[in-house]
């Protein structure tokens, strides 16, 4: 995939904590091809937030990056100075966060906020307001010109998220990162936002990195999906490949536990027993071994290799390495 907008190679991120060094992300590899939508799925603590923070380089002060690279539009983001990085933020890389009410500034009108983030442009204030109005119209806000004066709390949750998306796409970035944008919304709103994102993505031609733990949404929206577990990528490939032929036991469990996939009425929903291992003192071998149904002897001490097929479907699992499994 050499037309990739974003290429993450071997990225590791650790945090200094009182108990020791927490290995939040370990040797993560993933690509975001140009003009595509890539989903990242995984439960809490899998490293999704760390991934996003690393890409835009707004990590906490106790974070260290022992190794890896993040190549964006031909440059390694980790090698850029904070100033160079700052120039990319909001311009070439935009981000939409989870809870729009708290991410929008409560004491500034949305018009003011949308004009403020255009600070790089030399256009007149009137022109900037005009652009803001157009963006609001494109995300489906009615009567946008007069609503510029209003404050975030005067909008519903769904509309606030649309405004956040409008802000993020205003500068027509190459990459939009969406951090669980629909988690705080109800199901009907979720569908609307997904359709909106799809439409805008085709219009603008950007790539989207879409983080979520909602499998249905990922299946609907994304071209490719990356499955993360406890700081590692365990499987990746096209959405079709991964969801129809899951190769990693964790992916299988996720799909099985997704309420949407339960066909018959049942009293108890399936869960994945066990917990994420301690990331300060990492266990040997495969990271998923203590929760895996198909655990084998070599999983105990050997880290699985990264195995791929010709269609770009990759998995990190000993079971998949056995001949006969593709």
């Amino acid at each position: 995939m050499n037309d990739a907008v974003l290429t993450v190679r071997d990225l590791s991120v650790h945090y200094h904590t009182d108990r020791g060094e927490l290995k939040a992300m370990r040797r993560v590899n993933m690509d975001v091809p140009g003009g595509s939508i890539v989903g990242v799925v995984g439960e809490s603590g899998c490293g999704k937030s760390t991934l996003i923070s690393s890409i835009i380089r707004l990590l906490a002060s106790n974070a260290i990056i022992p190794g890896g690279s993040i190549t964006f539009e031909g440059r390694d983001l980790l090698k850029l100075s904070q100033d160079e990085m700052r120039r990319l933020r909001g311009d070439r890389i935009s981000i939409v966060f989870q809870d729009p009410m708290s991410t929008l500034n409560p004491v500034l009108s949305i018009g003011r906020q949308m004009v403020d983030i255009q600070y790089r442009s030399r256009a007149s204030r009137a022109d900037k307001s005009k652009l803001a109005t157009e963006m609001l119209a494109s995300v489906g806000i009615s009567d946008p010109a007069s609503r510029l004066k209003q404050f975030p709390h005067e909008f519903s949750g769904g509309m606030q998220q649309r405004i956040s998306i409008a802000m993020a796409l205003q500068a027509e970035p190459a990459l939009l990162i969406a951090d669980e944008p629909t988690t705080a919304l109800d199901a009907t709103l979720e569908v609307q936002i997904i359709h909106l994102l799809k439409k805008l993505q085709t219009d603008i031609g950007c790539s989207i990195l879409f983080i979520s733990h909602h499998l249905g949404v990922i299946a609907e929206l994304c071209d490719y999906v990356v499955v993360m577990y406890a700081g590692e990528v365990v499987e990746e490939g096209t959405t079709r490949d991964v969801f129809h032929n899951p190769a990693h036991p964790y992916t299988e469990s996720l799909l099985r536990c997704d309420p949407a996939s339960i066909a018959t009425k049942t009293r108890s929903l399936p869960t994945i027993p066990g917990e994420i291992p301690d990331l300060v003192t990492l266990p040997q071998g495969c990271i998923f071994k203590n929760r895996c149904e198909h655990v084998m002897t070599q999983c105990e001490n050997l880290v699985p290799e990264w195995i791929g097929s010709h269609s770009g479907h990759f998995v990190s699992c000993h079971r998949a390495a056995k001949p006969g499994n593709d």
Binding site: L58, G90, I95, T103, N105, P106, V107, D116, M167
Partner: protein, 314 residues
């Protein structure tokens, strides 16, 4: 919003009326003839008679209260016992000095305290932050009159950098400025500590909020994030605090005026007590209280105005 305005103003008025009533009750609860007590040892029979008539002491109590309020509304605070001038003239003649002192003190405190608090928040746990933290607490608790005494001792008496007495020549701006420096600093010192702590806590809270993260995620320069977004929000509490702090400021001003022999309401009250000029005392205390209530009411209203979330919910 308008409804809240009216409600809050009404509350302010009610409180003032209750305060006045309280003063009235205090005067009457003291055993003895209220007129005689109010006039003090200087009471001559004629004065007592005219005061009694003015206060309507032979009338039933509700009428007396009404008379009291009636006089107040006409701006009549009584007559000075010694010089027979209207108390209102004396009080309002001295009030500007006190107001100048208080506002200069607030000015000092804001100019030094707000940047200090902002710096402490941005450089948490550095030496300056910790030292500022301890000094702030120290400044807040040391009584204002002790600070006044020491600044008088060190800077006026010993070093002779600033004058020790009075407010300076009327009409001469620089002379008056020289005279106001030490008293204003004496009052302002504790406020510097208070504001620094307040701004620090407020900044830390605002900087950790999500919309600040968003501003950074859009690449806004740190300067803009801190000063245009965060600081503006963080400074809001200082406005309310000044309103409520007016009580403390008036008390501190009183001591400072006495220590530096400056004209003002505080000195007026003190001198009047020592000369047993009680109507002046009562009038001055009344005016100070009204001032305090006005300032708390104003700060509540300003606070409601500044935060759009509150403003539109009212």
């Amino acid at each position: 919003m308008l409804f809240y305005l009216i409600k809050r103003l009404a509350l302010g008025v009610v409180i003032v009326m209750l305060a006045v009533t309280l003063l009235f009750c205090m005067i009457h609860l003291v055993p003895g003839d209220p007129a005689r007590i109010l006039l003090g040892p200087r009471a001559t029979p004629e004065l007592i008679a005219s005061m009694s008539a003015r206060m309507g002491l032979d009338q039933p109590l509700p009428i007396q209260i009404l008379l009291f309020f009636g006089n107040l509304f006409r701006g009549d605070l009584g007559m000075d016992v010694i010089t027979n001038r209207p108390v209102a003239d004396m009080v309002f003649g001295q009030l500007p000095y006190t107001l100048w002192l208080i506002f200069t003190a607030i000015g000092f405190a804001m100019v030094i305290g707000i940047p200090l608090g902002c710096y402490s928040a941005l450089h948490r746990n550095t030496l300056i932050d910790r030292v500022t933290g301890v000094l702030s607490v120290a400044c807040i608790t040391v009584p204002a009159f002790v600070v006044a005494l020491y600044s008088l001792l060190i800077f006026a008496v010993t070093l002779n950098w600033f004058p020790a007495v009075g407010a300076g020549e009327k009409g001469d701006f620089w002379d008056q400025a020289r005279h106001i420096v030490l008293p204003a600093l004496a009052i302002g010192l504790s406020w510097i500590g208070y504001l620094a702590r307040l701004v620090r806590a407020s900044m830390l809270e605002v900087m950790s909020e999500n919309h600040i993260r968003t501003a950074r995620a859009y690449g806004l320069p740190e300067r803009v994030v801190v000063f245009r977004y965060a600081l503006k929000l963080a400074v809001l509490p200082t406005v309310t605090v000044i309103g409520v702090g007016m009580g403390f400021l008036l008390s501190a001003a009183l001591f400072t005026e006495i220590v530096f022999a400056r004209p003002g309401i505080g000195k007026l009250i003190f001198d009047s007590i020592t000369t047993r000029n009680y109507p002046v005392v009562m009038g001055s205390v009344l005016v100070s209280t009204v001032l305090f209530v006005i300032s708390t009411t104003l700060s509540d209203l300003v606070n409601a105005w500044l935060d759009p979330r509150i403003r539109s919910s009212l």
